[in-house]
């Protein structure tokens, strides 16, 4: 340690706070000017924390399991009744689905239908709800032989959760569809109309910019659209519900409050890269993927079923 005289040391101590406050402003400027650097540092920290949270996850899940078990016992009867009703409804749907599947196979055979390539995916556990007070995102753990790239699409067992916006070697950050910076081009299943789904940082994203004439209907299902090449068409997002202010909200299909395991699909899309993205992937003009899909997603009701997974005819 360097020996300094007492007045010098006192002067240094007095100076350190203002200097550090100036440094904080400088940091804000740097963060604004070089978003990539900020992202890299953040990812490095996430890579360090992800294994720690990964090891903590199991005992924590057990703990939470016990807590929910205790709560579940209380409303066992009500839940049973509800499940019975739901099961009956599902049986009816199963019959309908089987009939439709048979019909679909028949049609496909008649048309010599070329099935779309199945997209590659990795399954990853959610290790932390990393979102801060003004952001909605989750951190997923990645074990080294696998790897996740920016722009991959995250789905849980029911629907779209979000997109990978930052990818490190041991973790990746998924920006949820409810985040304020999330904008997703969507198709309304009933009318085939287009719109944009905007996150609000609240529980429900809202719909915006639908064309005149195709007003989102209450209870209508919302799917991703291939417009701009950021998402493949036809992934389930949620259902439309109007709130008290007559704003169409989307109730997400995915269970965003209890995310445990995500599937990260690599559709190898080359359109709009994920938010705050640096020039990572080579950007190709999207028409090759977007154009053939556009008519498919705008066909009225009967065609909508077959447009469920066109991941690009390549």
């Amino acid at each position: 340690m360097i020996r300094l005289s007492i007045p010098v040391r006192q002067a240094l101590e007095k100076l350190s706070l203002p200097v550090l406050i100036a440094a904080a402003f400088a940091l804000m400027l740097i963060g604004k000017a070089d978003a990539v650097l900020a992202m890299r540092v953040r990812m490095a920290l996430a890579d360090t924390l992800a294994p720690i949270y990964g090891t903590m996850a199991k005992p924590l899940a057990n703990l939470r399991g016990v807590a929910t078990d205790v709560l579940d016992i209380w409303d066992l009867r009500a839940e049973n009744a509800q499940l019975r009703a739901e099961n009956e409804a599902l049986h009816r749907w199963q019959a309908a689905a089987l009939a439709l599947e048979a019909q679909n196979t028949e049609f496909k055979a008649a048309l010599s239908w070329m099935p779309p390539q199945a997209p590659a995916f990795t399954t990853a556990p959610v290790v932390a709800d990393s979102g801060g007070i003004y952001a909605r995102s989750v951190l997923v753990g990645v074990t080294p032989p696998h790897h996740v790239t920016k722009g991959e699409i995250a789905l849980d067992d029911r629907g779209v959760v979000g997109r990978v916006t930052e990818a490190g070697s041991r973790s990746a950050r998924v920006l949820l569809i409810t985040d304020m910076n999330s904008r997703i081009p969507v198709v309304l299943e009933g009318s085939g109309g287009r719109a944009v789904m905007e996150g609000t940082n609240g529980a429900f994203p809202v719909l915006r910019y639908w064309p005149e004439g195709t007003i989102p209907a209450e209870g209508e299902r919302v799917m991703t659209s291939a417009a701009a090449g950021a998402f493949p068409a036809g992934l389930p997002l949620g259902t439309v519900h109007y709130n008290a202010d007559k704003v169409p909200q989307v109730h997400p299909e995915a269970d965003l409050d209890h995310l445990a395991i995500l599937r990260l699909f690599d559709y190898d899309l080359t359109g709009v890269t994920a938010p705050d993205a640096p020039a990572g992937r080579p950007v190709q003009p999207p028409p090759s993927t977007a154009a053939p899909m556009a008519p498919a997603s705008t066909t009225p009701k009967p065609g909508a079923v077959s447009a469920a997974h066109p991941a690009g005819p390549r």
Binding site: I21, L49, A57, G131, I133, S137
Partner: protein, 181 residues
Amino acid sequence: MEKTPGIRPRRSFGQRLDRTARRGFPGAITIFAMVIAGAPFGLPGQAQLLPAITLASVFFWSLFRPVAFPPPFVFVLGLLADLMEEMPPGVSVLILLLTQMLVLRIRRPLGKQSFLFVWLIFTIVAAVATALQWALCSLLDWTFFPPASGLFVFLLATGLYPLIAIVFIQAHRSLAAPEQT
């Protein structure tokens, strides 16, 4: 720490280690609490926990044991908070440093006051800090964030302060006190 002048025998390695551990305790416990606050508990409003803990911790230790929280350490703490909360880097750093600067100014009169009065002062500090945080985040991201999340941070920080303070006061008197060696 040596208040009385005089020559005393050189401290043994064990004593020096003990002193270092006591000095480092407030910082270490704060970082530990921050990491734990980010763990997947699945609690509602967990995102707001981290800024609340950081603010309360910086306020408490700057007031009662500033030696344990030198400004460079607060800087690092703020940076960690920014990175963990996905805020624009520098926002928490600035807020925590400003909090510390203010607390160091009013330290002498405030240290003699009752716990309730200190809590009241913390409430005011937390209100200003969360408002500033919200304003800076909105400005740097150029988006109007709903102020409700900021308000929740304020309420959580205010509510949690007595709990955190009880733990810290115990530590301040026993674990983190270098005089005890």
